[in-house]
Symmetry: C2
Subunit: 278 residues, 2 copies
């Protein structure tokens, strides 16, 4: 029940029709008695700069979830951002500090990493391959580097994109070995599809699954179906997999911690969520 | 349940803690299945001009309820306002038109007028006395004039305030007889306290109740208790009365019509409202 004492979490993006966050966070707030609400705000491309600061001057705002098309632009509008934001080049969480500064963090990759750790995998010292160096691939690479992997291999259909990400990774994680240019998964502990391949029926697989070690963990960002053709091939090979929505539900506790709201496990959030059928 | 398809009604004012509108509108929207939500937005004095237009560029905003301290300032930020706004000098409702213009209306006085009409009183041709020419008194006078009263008498502890209101009334309602300077209720059909007298225990009565005709309807804006000392004295004299919250609940259907949302009767809204004890 929204009252004048309720704290707002603005969910900023456009279009809003497909937003899932209100359907996940608000049932949790209601369940746990947290007087907060996620409010979708349909801010169009080009309109973010005009509204962000005025919005954060409101007396009852707690923070913002940032989504398409603003994740990159918002970085330049903040006072301080984390290393994850600097490496990913994008930001999906903004918080108002007590002194009025706006700080940003990025939890897309954090969700991926938390899911891997929850499955009992070790990331410190591991070798990871991330295919796709766009927004989500950059975020996952940033989080894997933050989690202490020893080697990070990057590949993208646009080689310049992978090279730029590699340069940001090297700048912020000097001890990390970064290699680019190959999608060969041979020898990697963690193998991730961060391309859109799998969204459309008939897409080729993003990499040669036959060369993945059966001991590797195979992750996916596409959420079109629980097990994409890529994950089905990995399962057939005997690999453990991480499905697309794992990243989503693992990300939410990270957001809740960032906003200093009561934290739930991903399973609890999944059970309470009122997501409509796709 | 808020989703990405929910239309927002921004409730703009500061401080938000005492806002009642979310506790009245949202249960109604839920009950009737309207996919809309009133969201308190704590916009501080001086911050309105920066946020109003960016807010109305959002794709999912439907309108705004405007309250303290912005009811006067907002008038100058709109593209078009009603006669009620021009006479009252303030605005409490803003709507986005299909062509992008922002239009404003004022329903404080409309709530008062609707309550009087619902009690079976006739306003066309009536004689009304409004004591207090501040924000709410001006709004009531504007609405009474709009409803066709023949004579409107105004009085205020600051005579210049009553004179300024009289000038605005005369400019927009050329056929209306406007008199100022006396609180004597003798000969009036409608007698209204629009001063804050009655908010504090020990306040004097706003006018000489002994001179009110028992056939008159006596209205009150103070909501501190259902029957203020002024209303108790009027009841003792045999007058019919209109209590402060009547104006509040009568105003809401006017807002709902303005926003093209499903309309309820004031009694229905009262029954559904989840107002906490004062």
């Amino acid at each position: 029940m929204i009252s004048g004492r309720t704290k707002l979490v603005a969910h900023i993006g456009h279009p809003t029709e497909s937003f899932k966050a209100p359907l996940v966070y608000n049932p949790w707030f209601e369940h746990v008695g947290a007087d907060a609400v996620v409010v979708p705000m349909g801010v169009k491309a080009g309109d973010l700069a005009a509204i962000l600061r005025p919005l954060f001057r409101m007396s009852n705002i707690l923070g913002a979830l940032i989504t398409m098309p603003h994740k990159v632009e918002v970085v330049g509008l903040l006072d301080e951002v984390t290393t994850a934001v600097k490496v990913a080049g994008s930001c999906n969480a903004v918080r108002l500090e007590p002194d009025g500064r706006l700080t940003g963090d990025m939890f897309d990759g954090e969700g991926f990493v938390r899911g891997v750790l929850r499955k009992g995998r070790r990331l410190a010292g591991a070798r990871a391959l991330v295919v796709g160096s766009g927004g989500v691939g950059s975020a996952i690479a940033a989080a894997l580097a933050g989690a202490g992997v020893a080697t990070l291999a990057l590949a993208d259909a646009r080689p310049a994109s992978a090279e730029a990400l590699a340069a940001r990774l090297s700048a912020h994680h000097p001890g990390l070995e970064v290699v680019t240019g190959s999608t060969d998964p041979d020898g990697f502990d963690i193998v991730v599809n961060a391309t859109p391949l799998g969204m459309t029926s008939g897409d080729p697989l993003p990499l040669d699954v036959e060369r993945i070690a059966p001991s590797a963990l195979v992750g996916e960002v596409v959420m079109k179906e629980v097990h994409t053709p890529f994950l089905r091939a990995a399962l057939a090979r005997g690999c453990e997999v991480q499905v697309g929505t794992d990243m989503l539900f693992e990300m939410i506790p990270a957001y809740l911690e960032f906003f200093d709201l009561p934290v739930a496990t991903p399973d609890r959030l999944r059970a309470l969520a009122r997501l409509e059928p796709a």
